[in-house]
Symmetry: C2
Subunit: 423 residues, 2 copies
């Protein structure tokens, strides 16, 4: 029998789970500190819902299946579409609705380093507020997550799709080509300015327009760079105003220095309507989080505009970087103490001691394999359990056990009634 | 567009998530106190692995699909089969391997009260130990989980499949009918002794055999009831010995009184080989956890017997009972404090105060909708946020804000520099 794993997915063994759960707990905690609440949705949705606004590329990546009644289903490929569906189904939700979700999503992509077919995302979204303060809060929250995880070398690129949109229309780029221009521009970090220029030329745009686009997307820096743009019409003005407001709020959060206006940032997904953001880890020049405002997405599930904004942390990449940069400083095991009976006839006492420690919340293992003491200590060394309580007949006669620290080999006698104080 | 949920699955809105996460955290914590470590596996497995030993009924319930390369996959229907696959793939695992997993599984069953197509299980398993101490530890751990959750009215039924097996063979029940007899006997709690008698007669067993089976499965009570059984052969003796050992270990854990020998307990699944257990919540006469020893399961993925035992908590039923019995005493929201700016020009200060509180780990929301104070307080009442810090211009001139408790309506002035002490 083929007993392997399906291609592109992984098991998480305990030592990996400890790191993974640490990261998820930090994220979860900071999310809650910013007033986001947990929401969970099923692993699969009606296929129609998933396919409605994901773009052709992502649609191809959906794990599609039919249930036994012929319903067309698909595994979710992100956490935003299910959120939009929840809002559409709960029209009387209290505004603003601030939810987080840290969970698995699935995409049928060619696996490669850091890219898996099953992976975690950690999202926060705010539904119901039009204010740029909502966008700023999402970004501030994620900045705090990265600070808490020990990242110190990152920045947040900001743009407004509306601004780019308006500038392109002003340049007389045909409407149907605007989205394509976005896709090309989105690759600036990857292929460089010249690469973008080439691709734009290939699209059949006039050289003058291409030059103008290039000079626009080269604009980056602090909020002052917006001065380079002429507020020719209302849309351009509105878009620049939003960036100014956003920056002002980031200043109030004390986080203005993380922000960098970058007119080459578009973000791939079709559903963004206004401000977009992306967190870049400098050393690797890699995106570790990204998002933006999507005021039209919920409308496709219920015919009503509902403003929404959000950001998603790439949990897998974050863990990858933290591993490569040796940012984890965690034990190999969740177990804190091993209670080791020297012989079978003290098992009774060993179990009682284990139960006492467990009552105080200690994470305790006892011997289950009937091994001798040496074998038990070997096991603890292999597992990375540091503290061993050796329960032997002689010690017991004195109401004692021996606490052995496997790190330094030191042993101390401990009175049984004082175990909880000492450990 | 059909924007609903697929049949049989649910969203968990924040107030439900708070209860759900509370239960999961209690379970997780007690699992770790007993030295179990987290393991996670993908949502889907190769279909062949899932179908290998699940029995025809469960096989029908697997969500089956093909990926784009034609691989046959299925969503996992339990957490035990993936564990067996992990062990088979990691032959050099350290023994004993004690893992827990609290996660979703999927079964295509007809939905009904308390039965969903996506649901949580919480499992602990010990792989590599043959000792009844391993079985006893699993049961002890789960007893502690239920105690911690506030259940006080439950017991654990115990049987040994080997014993029933040996007794049936001794009664000359044809080998191929033994599993069917198990299935019928398993329904004793549901259909009663007479119902079981009828079904056994229908199977074509001799009346004398049926009467003997009935008198066997009527045996229940403390370990003393085993005296009613004659140790006619080695297998019967071995099986009774295991029950005696198990009970002795439960006594060492100080939990003997929860245990009840019940020869009618068989547990549906095919893969159990020895002791089986089931936790029953008395008031509803419903199973809330169950498991047993399965020494042959891993063998089908790798040609080698590896002893294993485990127990699974029915998380959905546990939550259902806790809701019906009003055992939850939790806030409606994770948010602890709302910082309410009275006007727009104090937003700056409000955000700064929120950030100070967040730094100390407090869960804080601020106004994102540009609402007036009354509207903000209405929002907090609806959401169940108790504490509101009102930030107004006048107070600020005195270096103060107003703390309002929405539960009793009381207000107190708080110096800004003392906010963290007071909250």
């Amino acid at each position: 029998m083929e007993f392997g794993l399906p291609r592109g997915v992984r098991d998480f063994l305990p030592s990996e789970m400890i790191r993974r759960e640490y990261v998820i707990n930090v994220i979860k905690n900071i999310f809650e500190c910013y007033g986001f609440e947990p929401l969970d949705t099923p692993a699969f949705e009606n296929f129609e819902i998933l396919a409605a606004k994901c773009g052709p590329e992502v649609k191809e990546q959906i794990y599609y299946f039919k249930d036994k009644s012929g319903r067309e289903l698909g595994l979710r490929f992100d956490l935003t579409v299910p959120l939009a569906r929840v809002i559409a189904m709960n029209p009387n939700f209290i505004k603003p609705f601030k939810r987080y979700c840290i969970s698995k999503v699935w995409r049928y992509e060619e696996p490669q380093k850091g890219r898996w077919r099953e992976f975690y995302q950690a999202d926060i979204d705010i539904v119901g507020s039009e204010s740029m303060l909502a966008d700023a809060e999402c970004v501030a929250c994620v900045i705090d997550v990265f600070k808490k995880l020990g990242f110190d070398d990152f920045y947040v690129r900001i743009n407004n799709r509306k601004l780019l949109d308006a500038l392109l229309i002003d340049l007389k780029v045909p409407k149907e080509k605007v989205v394509d221009v976005f896709r090309v521009v989105d690759k600036t970090e990857k292929v460089g300015i010249d690469g973008v220029r080439n691709e734009l030329m290939k699209m059949g745009l006039k050289e003058k327009s291409v030059n103008e686009i290039i000079s626009i997307i080269k604009i980056n820096g602090d909020i002052g760079v917006l001065k380079k743009i002429e507020a020719k019409n209302e849309l351009i003005k509105e878009a620049m105003d939003e960036l100014v407001q956003f920056t002002r709020f980031m200043e109030m959060f004390g986080m203005k220095d993380y922000i960098k206006i970058d007119l080459s940032l578009t973000r791939g997904l079709d559903y963004y309507t206004s401000i977009v953001f992306e967190v870049t880890y400098k050393k690797y020049n890699k995106s570790i989080a990204g998002g933006g405002r999507y005021n039209n997405l919920i409308k496709i599930y219920r015919g009503q505009d509902i403003p929404a904004t959000g950001i998603s942390i790439g949990v897998e990449r974050v863990i990858e970087i933290m591993e490569e940069e040796k940012m984890f400083n965690l034990p190999k095991t969740t177990t804190q103490i091993f209670v080791a009976p020297v012989s079978n006839d003290v098992m009774d006492k060993a179990l009682k001691i284990a139960q006492i420690l467990r009552k105080t919340g200690k994470k305790v293992e006892t011997e289950l394999m009937n091994r001798n003491l040496k074998q038990q200590l070997d096991y603890c060394n292999k597992k990375g359990i540091e503290k061993v309580l050796i329960v032997g007949k002689k010690d017991l006669e004195n109401g004692e056990v021996t606490l052995r620290n496997l790190k330094d080999g030191k042993e101390t006698k401990v009175k049984i009634e004082k175990i909880c104080e000492i450990l």
